[in-house]
């Protein structure tokens, strides 16, 4: 039985080498109405996020460096395209850590910043799809990571496990939402949105799983380092959810 499972995994990997994942939605690949809808959807999150960041800078200047650190983490992870088991490459987002430490609103702003950079200089993602991409990466990814972290903590499991699961599942949530956005814009003529969703999700499902695990592991590495050097200030933020209001 184990052999059969292993065989099917190997077969999938060999037979589907062209499967690659849909990082961000490319320029011009959402119809206008959809593009504007997601832009409008993401604006309130960005507005609150900018407010939160201002709050951190004014009321907790000692957290400025920490904010810089989570931003840098997003920059690094979303720039590193790593090879995955399916024979294609993809990258993580790094957004989970920022959501855990500063709340999902701030994550939305950080995702927006990185995505502007990548749309303008790298032709990666796009300006017309910026709203949709910021929503999937910052809002959906950030919110998922934040809720998973709180949920695992409430369940009484270790903080380290909470960080790992939050970052990994936040990463996966980003890609599921991307597939959802595409399937709503391009419903299958026969099977509708559901059939479309499986087609788009199938493009990245296998590829993204090892990358989500990598993102979780790297987030734990940063967490360990944070505890080593900055334990008191950090635990203070983490244990009091209200502190996010800064």
């Amino acid at each position: 039985m184990k052999k059969l499972t292993l065989f099917s995994i190997v077969a999938a990997v060999v037979l589907l080498p062209q499967l690659a994942q849909a990082m961000h939605i490319m320029e011009g690949f959402l119809p206008q109405m959809h593009a504007f809808f997601w832009l409008a959807a993401v604006v309130p999150f960005l507005a609150v996020g900018v407010g939160r960041i201002n709050g951190v800078l004014h009321n907790h200047p000692e957290r400025k460096l920490l904010l810089g650190l989570v931003t840098a983490f997003v920059f690094v992870l979303s720039a590193l395209k790593m090879p995955s088991v399916t024979g294609s490459s993809s990258h993580a987002t790094g957004i989970g850590l920022s959501a855990i430490l500063f709340g999902p609103w701030v994550s939305a702003v950080l995702a927006g910043i990185v995505l502007v950079f990548q749309a303008l200089l790298l032709a990666h993602g796009g300006l017309t799809t910026w709203g949709a991409n910021t929503f999937s990466m910052g809002v959906a990814g950030g919110l998922t990571a934040y809720l998973v972290f709180r949920g695992v903590r409430v369940a009484g499991l270790s903080e380290k496990l909470a960080v790992f699961l939050a970052a990994a599942l936040g990463d996966l949530a980003t890609y599921m939402v991307t597939a959802g956005q595409l399937s709503v814009a391009f419903p299958d003529p026969v099977g509708g949105i559901t059939a479309s969703f499986f087609k788009f999700a199938g493009v990245f499902a296998l590829t993204q799983i090892p990358l989500a695990i990598s993102e979780g592991l790297l987030s734990v590495v940063v967490y360990n380092t944070l505890l080593r050097y900055n334990a008191q200030g950090l635990i203070h933020i983490w244990w009091n959810g209200k502190e996010h209001k800064a």
Binding site: V13, V14, P17, Q18, L19, A20, Q21, A22, M23, H24, I25, M26, E27, G28, F29, P31, Q32, L65, G68, L69, A72, F73, F75, V76, L77, A79, L80, K81, P83, T86, G87, S88, S89, S90, F117, A119, L120, L122, A123, G126, L127, T128, L182, F186, P187, D188, P189, K199, F200, V203, F204, P210, L211, I213, S214, L218, N224, T225, Y229, N230
Partner: protein, 94 residues
């Protein structure tokens, strides 16, 4: 064990990236946005993107330069943060 935890975690990340390269060595490891184009074309052959990228890197070399630059900016700050925290802690105990 605790002392080496980060080292072990980082090794796992390296393994996750390295194993596919060896195991699936015939693959192209192409980046992937183009795959979506194919799915869109299959579902709705009439769809035409209504906006093009304002600027695209002229070659894959320039593109990887810009990706490396993005990673370097991030990694540079992380290095600064690490050094700053370490120095501050050592300064306190000294």
């Amino acid at each position: 064990m605790k002392k080496y935890e980060n080292l072990i975690l980082l090794s796992l990340v390296v393994l996750l990236a390295a194993v596919p390269l060896v195991w699936n060595s015939g693959a192209e490891f192409g980046g992937a946005d183009d795959q979506v184009k194919d799915v869109v074309a299959a579902i709705n052959p009439d769809y035409k993107p209504w906006f093009e990228s304002i600027w695209s890197p002229p070659s894959t070399e320039v593109e990887s330069f810009l990706f490396a630059l993005q990673a370097a900016i991030g990694a540079g700050f992380i290095g600064y943060w690490l050094g700053f925290q370490r120095g501050r802690r050592n300064g306190r105990t000294a």
